[in-house]
Symmetry: C2
Subunit: 98 residues, 2 copies
DNA sequence: AAAACCAGTTTGCACTGCCAACCTGAATCT
DNA sequence: AGATTCAGGTTGGCAGTGCAAACTGGTTTT
């Protein structure tokens, strides 16, 4: 297994998935974002977005805070330190591979 | 949808799949390779490798030639012009996205 | 008060990927 | 001749993803 192949094999599959890669890339740039903003930016439907967010939370890459903007519910998402680190490692490996 | 997100959404899913990304990256560097070489380099099992190769052939990204090395069968794989172009586009987009 | 609305979640279904096991066709070993 | 080996393909079971539709809990509209 050569260097490139090795790097590809080591890519974090949770982040590699395009839907989640978009989410993580967006969150890496903004400190915090809400569900609707992510939905608008990624153009994913609610269901798909919701399940990707659950997965990212499950592995500890994002923090999910359910709150209210006035009286309507708002879900705030942010990368955890672990998520930020995982994304940076992903970027590094992918760049090295390509 | 911002630039990064847009680029990620446009990534070619056939190539994005890590197993196939390894195959395409390997083939992009060697003109031609055989099945066993790819299996050794990628550490995939025969079944998985075989099905990824079928998929790549199906979309026209690789050419598959079944021949013989002495008396034992040998399957030779090579990127088509289209496959090479698709890989370059994939690399470009991924680099721009990250 | 009933109907429509909004933010999200859950569910059901189709499709894809992964792995192990089995299958094929030809060669080699005993 | 029968059993083993080898290259590679096919199959079956299981997990992950995408989408649409139904659902939940609360709010606004009529």
């Amino acid at each position: 297994m050569n260097r490139t192949t090795q790097k590809i094999a080591e890519l974090d599959r949770v982040i590699h998935e395009p839907g989640r890669l978009m989410i993580v890339a967006l969150l890496s740039a903004v400190e915090q974002a809400d569900f609707l903003y992510l939905q608008h930016e990624t153009e994913m439907n609610k269901g798909t977005l919701s399940s990707h967010l659950s997965r990212l939370e499950e592995v500890g890459y994002i923090e999910v805070v359910k709150t209210y903007r006035g009286k309507i519910p708002q879900t705030l998402l942010s990368l955890t330190a672990e998520g930020r680190q995982a994304f940076q490692q992903y970027r590094r490996r992918m760049k090295e591979a390509l």
